[in-house]
């Protein structure tokens, strides 16, 4: 990036000095402007944290750490706890990733390594289009098309055949953690696929050729050379998907059943942090109630931050172990 700037001004020098001066002034303005934008972003982030902290203060003061561990959410008696929402957020994201990661990686490998040329572009285009569908549309589709299908046959089948597992107990309502997880999978697949495809495509051809020259099969080339080479990028893609899953609101609210429950069953209706805040913020009144909802948002913020930090560390570790930088 830095190397580009002197290049352009050299070209300007070639024509005449006045335009060179103009270009240098332009450079200055440009660099100030970009500096301003990046500082602005950081300032917004800090302002956001401060504002959330101030509004959440009544709840932080009242409940302290028990906010994280309590399962109560009782607006009438003003007792609030976040545990079921935290649980729901992590559980649905986990289900989403468990489904999305294999599918996304599989299709990314296919599209970049195996697919015939005529398929490659249209296929990736369609997958990326999926990411552009507004979440409320996905939510409506989920509620009216997917949920009835999940209720019967999927949940009834799971319940009658695997019902001995705590995961698949309880009445098959259709709405619940399972549906929310599947909706999230659908929403993050295009993100993970798109990133993974780019990352895999960026692996140098020499890596592949060397592997093939050693007599490796295609499978060996992909699993032993291509994927390990770009592992950090793939993890980045997955984390990007996870970030979306953790914060997704609308579609999840429509299919999760919005019960404040802490149940091991995937059939159970539940809530996520984002869905809880979205559901109740409009009509909430009283400093403690609103403060608790905002503290929920802070908790989500912290979870997202934590996930990002872990991801950075993971990427950094794999990169330094393998000694291959990006």
């Amino acid at each position: 990036m830095d190397k580009c700037k002197p290049n352009t001004s050299h070209i300007a020098v070639g024509s005449d000095t006045a335009s060179a001066v103009r270009a240098r002034v332009g450079d200055k303005i440009f660099s100030r402007l970009t500096l301003f934008f990046s500082v602005l972003m950081v300032a917004i982030l800090i302002a956001l944290l401060v504002a959330l902290g101030i509004d959440a203060w009544p709840a932080i003061q009242k409940f302290g750490l028990s906010f994280i561990s309590s399962i109560e959410w009782d607006p009438v008696n003003e007792v609030f706890g976040a545990l079921p929402a935290i649980y729901g957020t992590l559980l649905t994201s986990l289900i989403g990733l468990l489904i999305a990661v294999p599918i996304s990686l599989g299709s990314a490998v296919f599209l970049s390594e195996l697919a015939p040329d005529w398929m490659r572009r249209p296929c990736s285009f369609v997958i990326e289009m999926l990411a552009a569908i507004p979440s409320v549309i996905i939510g409506l589709w989920g509620l009216y098309v997917m949920v009835p299908f999940i209720r019967n046959p999927i949940e009834t089948w799971l319940g009658s055949n695997l019902g001995f597992l705590p995961l698949f107990q309880g009445p098959p309502f259709g709405v619940g953690f399972l549906s929310a997880g599947i909706i999230l999978a659908i929403m993050v697949i295009p993100i993970i696929t798109a990133v993974s495809r780019e990352v895999i495509a960026a692996v140098p051809l020499t890596q592949r050729e060397a592997m093939l020259a050693l007599g490796a099969t295609r499978w060996e080339m992909i699993t032993r050379s291509v994927l390990p080479y770009c592992r950090s990028g793939l993890v980045g893609g997955v984390i990007l998907g996870l970030g979306r899953a953790l914060g997704e609101t609308m579609a999840v609210t429509m299919v999760i059943g919005n019960s404040y429950a802490l149940s091991p069953s995937l059939f159970s209706p539940g809530a996520t942090i984002a869905s809880k805040v979205a559901s109740e913020f409009n009509e909430a009144s009283g400093d403690l109630y609103i403060g608790s909802l905002i503290e929920l948002a802070l908790v989500l913020f912290a979870i997202t931050l934590l996930v990002n930090i872990i991801a950075r560390l993971l990427v950094w570790r794999t990169v330094s172990v393998r000694g291959t930088g990006e």
């Binding site: 509004d55 980045g236 914060g247 009509e283």
Partner: protein, 367 residues
Amino acid sequence: MSKWSQNWFAGIAAILIAAVALAGCSSPSGSPAASTATPAKSINLNGAGATFPAPLYTKWFDEYNKLTGVKVNYQPIGSGGGISQITEGTVDFGATDGIMTEAEMTKAESKNGPIMHIPMTSGSVAVIYNLSGIGSGQLKLTGDVLADIYMKKITKWNNPEIASLNPDLKLPDAAIAVVFRSDGSGTTYIFTNYLSKVSQGFKASIGNAKAVKWPGDIGGQGNAGVAGQVQQIPNSIGYVELAYAEQNKLAWAQLKNAAGNFIEPSLEATTKAAEGVSLPDDMKVMLTDSSNPEAYPIAGFTWILVYANQRDKDKGEALAKMLWWAIHDGQHYTSALSYGSLASTAVTKAENAILSMKYEGQTLITR
């Protein structure tokens, strides 16, 4: 690529969250004080609040604008929002489906002076169900039984308590899937107010609010969410606004009112509810469990909130006139939009409230 898009993504997210946070904290919605620059003749009134009466209010303000030229902007941001906006003084009037709490009244009074509740129309909550072979209006329930269902004490349709109310119906030996409103709403407020009145157990364990701690199964987002779940899930029960149930032809239950009659929800039975409840002068009263023999028991007013002491003479006068029109001529528009008109007793009380609105100690309009 991944790093870049990650930052970009986080940036967008931060902006969105910031926007939401700002909107939630204290953003003045609409454009208050927009009228100060224009001559006194053209008056803009700004209001915000409940979503339930929004279709009616939109119709009213449109008609009223044609009649008088007074422009009324109404933002349906929810009752909670309506209360906080009028408390902060960013609107000329608020609107709510629930009564302001003592704490809210005190806070508002300390900021911009006392606030009055003026009833505009009434609505009711229909109990809907999905039972194969049992049509609309066939199922009979009492408040007690309904409360037990929502407390998950009665969990099966063929429970003797339900069966004894419905000797002619073949009720299934199936679990009741209980559907509630997951978002805070005036509908839940009216519904839980009724159940708290008829069941001490409900009052003690769940209570009356716009959002409560439901032990029950599934939460739906809005009327559409609740109705959608009830229509999809066999053997379910739920509650929605009467207007919504009517427009979507949902199967609803008859409820036993305080006089002992089983009543189907209707606009007439909603209006009747106000005639069996003694109305206090401040009109902060719920119409649930009315003693009128023809009343449907789960009904309530929806109110417009105004300052008892207006801050601007012209605006105050325009507001009082508009409200006066709404509780008289405006009532003709209610039934077409599935709202219950105000009972005559309620109109009288509302008149007194409007006449008592003041600007610097002077009354704004006279009869």
